[in-house]
């Protein structure tokens, strides 16, 4: 790997790329469309302003809904979830953990809701077993002793990063479709009611890039309205709901635990690998680009979550994050939680464009279905009559996401038992060999320059209790050692990595995390002087 270096020439300036379909937005939907099209023999380029799952795809619970959450508000969405849940468990088992889910009510929760719940599940075809309180607490000892009702449903957890990486990887292997991270769309060149090309630039180097495509898919999630407007389309009308979630560094439950009451704050705790994710709040916002968790949102999540699982009150949280969910305008009724979780596919014909479509709304669980619908439209427009096959073709495993799965790296390392393969990230136990592999052939980013941040996205580096404060230093020095870094780029990458990790930590630094941060800062700033890199 010593031949690889971040200073290797980036694609020459003013490059033009050609493809059949340009997909904008590297969330699970965008990557799903990329794969779906590839399976139909259609070449695409997928771009993202930041990197895979940088938006709502990476900022959710990682919950593969059974549909039970929606039975009281949106039966149709509940049924869709149920179907996709069953399908994905079969086709992408390596991205999914079939944890099962519990719905629990505590003293004070509305008994009428709990009474009605099993019947609503049956109507949606969702299996729902009622449990006694004792049975539930045996399954999950952390549950409150004020529990009054419990049901079990087939919820599961899903790793969206793994899904996205696997989608991109499968598309690349199938027909050479391409993914480019850090590629920001600036404008479209539209001639005669057709988008001819998309003018982009590298978000970091600002190097220009033009992509010519016959069809353009807007899979921008919450940004879909902005992207549509760049194409002169005014028919995408979204509401923005900000959700805030917390990461607890301990896996506290085996099951997904939902509050058995109408959807509200802090009512879902999802075990994800080695951590737990608690959320979420819901707040209407206007500004998409400045979204950060507030103290109030965090405290509300913890307060509500602790009603189900008291240990959440004193748990050690390592991160909090907020992401914007796009909600489709138009249902007009009360709250955002009740607004449709369904998705919309707009062909923009009414806006005078023949080769542009927007897919938005929806949810992680139904990403495949959304991708299929979008791909149907695009393939039809290209005259491709092949039917989509993502409902039957298994998602190949497993290499693309092997380092993102919590606990996978240490198992692999332990089995190899090679004392020369040293652990660089001690919290999540990521060895040198994983870093080598990611840098040499970065999943989902063949031509990308790997920064520590990009390595972290493709592995568990920096995801543990120290949040990268030690391993950032070790990974950097390892990459200097191996000749990958040869100048100050490594220091800048290190600093940027710490800055980036900090964004997620900032709202939850108290208790032990305050001790951890003090040590980190003493090391990063006091010793290494990373706060003064620009000055010295």
């Amino acid at each position: 790997m010593s031949t690889i270096s971040p200073e290797q020439p980036a694609p020459a300036a003013a490059t033009t790329l050609e493809t059949e379909v340009l997909i904008i937005g590297g969330g699970v939907t965008g990557t799903g469309i990329m794969r779906d099209l590839a399976l139909r023999g259609i070449h695409s380029i997928l771009i993202d302003k930041i990197d895979l799952c940088a938006g709502a795809s990476g900022g959710n619970h990682g919950l593969l809904h059974s549909g039970a959450r929606y039975v009281s508000t949106d039966l149709e969405a509940a049924i869709e979830c149920r179907q996709e849940n069953e399908l994905l468990k079969r086709l992408a088992p390596h991205c999914i953990e079939a944890t099962g889910g519990l719905f629990v009510a505590v003293e004070g929760d509305d008994p009428a809701f709990a009474d009605e719940f099993p019947e609503l599940c049956r109507r949606a075809g969702i299996r729902c077993d009622e449990l006694t309180v004792a049975e539930a607490r045996k399954l999950e000892p952390h549950l409150s002793d004020r529990l009054v009702r419990a049901c079990r449903v087939p919820d599961a957890t899903v790793d969206p990063f793994h899904l996205a990486l696997a989608n991109v990887d499968h598309a690349r292997l199938t027909n050479g479709s391409l993914y480019r991270s850090h590629t920001e769309l600036l404008r479209f060149e539209i001639v005669d009611g057709e988008i001819r090309s998309a003018v982009c630039r590298d978000h970091r180097t600002l190097a220009p890039l033009t992509i010519r495509a016959r069809q353009v898919v807007n899979a921008g999630g919450a940004w879909a309205m902005n992207i549509a407007r760049l194409a002169g389309c005014a028919d995408v009308d979204l509401l923005y709901a900000k959700g805030t979630l917390l990461v607890n560094h301990d896996r506290m439950t085996r099951h997904v635990v939902n509050r058995l009451r109408p959807p509200g704050d802090g009512d879902i705790l999802v075990p994800g690998g080695t951590v737990s994710i608690l959320g979420t709040t819901s707040t209407r916002i206007q500004d998409l680009d400045h979204v950060a968790p507030t103290v109030d949102e965090i405290d509300r999540n913890i307060r509500e979550g602790a009603a189900m699982i008291p240990a959440l009150a004193g748990a050690r949280y390592t991160r909090a994050f907020s992401r914007v969910r796009p909600l489709l305008q138009g249902t007009g009724n009360a709250s955002d939680r009740a607004a449709s979780r369904g998705f919309a596919l707009l062909d923009h014909r009414s806006q005078g464009l023949a080769n542009f479509c927007t897919i938005t709304g929806g949810k992680l669980t139904t990403f495949r279905l959304m991708a299929e619908k979008a791909a149907d439209l695009v393939a039809g427009r290209l005259g491709n009559r092949q039917a989509g096959t993502t409902a039957t073709v298994p998602l190949p495993g497993d290499d693309a996401g092997r380092w993102t799965e919590p606990g996978a790296a240490p198992k692999h390392w332990y089995k190899l038992n090679d004392p020369g393969d040293m652990i660089l990230c001690e919290c999540e136990m990521v060895p040198q060999s994983a870093i080598d592999e990611i840098v040499a052939t970065p999943p989902g980013a063949e031509r990308e320059v790997m920064s520590i941040e990009a390595i972290s996205l493709r592995s568990r580096v920096g995801k543990g209790p120290c949040q990268g404060s030690f391993c950032g230093i070790r990974v950097a020095s390892y990459l200097y050692d191996s000749g990958y870094y040869r100048d100050a780029a490594g220091l800048v990458h290190m600093r940027d990595f710490f800055d980036e990790r900090f964004k997620g930590q900032r709202p939850v630094i108290w208790g032990r995390q305050a001790a951890q941060m003090e040590l980190a800062e003493a090391l990063h700033c006091g010793l290494l002087g990373l706060d003064a890199l620009d000055a010295d």
Binding site: R474, R486, D499, A522, G526, L533
Partner: protein, 449 residues
Amino acid sequence: MNMIEQPRNFTTELAVIGSGIAGFAASVFAVNRKIATALAGNSGAVAYTTGYLDLLGRLDGIATAVTDPWEGLLHLRQTQPKHPLGRIAVADLRAGFDEFTSFLGSGGIAYSRAGDRNVTALTPAGTLKQTLCVPATMAAGPRAFAARAACVIVDFEGLKGFSSREVVANLGGRWPGLAAQRIGFPDMARGEVYPEVMARALEVPATRERLATALQGVAGPARVIGLPAILGVHRPDRVHADLERLTGLEIFEIPTMPPSVPGVRLRELLEQALPKRGVTLIPQQKVTGLGFDGDGATLDLRDSYGPIRIRARAVILATGRFLSGGLEAHPDRIAEPLLDLPVTQPAGRADWYRERYTDVRGHPLHRAGIEVDAESRPLGRDGRPCSERLFAAGVIVAHQDWIRSRSGAGIAIATAYQAVGAAERYLRGSSGGLAATPSLNRQVVVPGE
């Protein structure tokens, strides 16, 4: 009868709580003033020190380094009158540094004397750092850098987080004669090696000889060699001098990331040297209770053998910040856990940290802390000293950001110097006065009757 745990009782004049640099320095100053002293408390953050003793390396919010810390102190005094470094006389500060470093020197870790200007010292990232005193084992680095002497940085197979190529990549532009080499440490197998393990091994003369041979092999024309900080834990000066003698080269150390050697060195030196001077040391145990009455103070703690009670006439609180447990950050407030002293702090949690981690201005949380009066006494909620017997030292004190101003050791030593001075005035002034000779109350296991 044996199983009913009776606390072991100690009586002393001064009890120091906290064995970080502030607690250690306070104990040194106290024994030098012939005050009978007991030292208890977790070592906390001291294990992570670099070995450099900073006084003032940066002024908060200003990105450029401070080269003249004394001038910087004048500036602090004007702009931040509440800053603990602005509240001590320069002469006392110098005296405190000299007294503390000479104590360390007598234990085998010699330090350069506090000079008129900062020393430009090296870091494992190849960046530069302003500090006041450097240990003898590290002194040749700044010298060689200043002279731009031909120098080889050597790292070791299996040592994570220290890369000579990293140092050279980042410093080479300013130091053309700098080169990188890697060697294997004598007799260490393939796999991970820790600085502490190498340092212990270098206390064996035979290991030094083998390392010397290896170093000569990679020195080339350079006469100066830089190593990660591994030159012994106990009496590193001797290891350093011997290795220079064996190689005929000038050798210096660069601090490493944790787990590193300089902190362990300092801790082990002080844990051995202080009891020799008569300090009652209860190492590595947190004090869980502290109360005051008319005659003195009572500290409660326990070690593996059982409960311990210390009676003292005065107490210095040097419990550090979040890492060492002197302050606790609760979701709703920052608290001082031992006495629930009032803590000056930002209005709410949302204001603790700035948006950007490496914001050069530093984070408001770090300026939180307890308030003290001119006699180093922590103030209670009524704004008056909460006890005439209680004094505070170290970074628990408010209105400073030791990390961003590179002033951790400076604040620790300065405030310890002041606190011991104040405690001494109190002890000598209060009824009974100080015992003419310190009552050496070393703990002895007395088999029972």
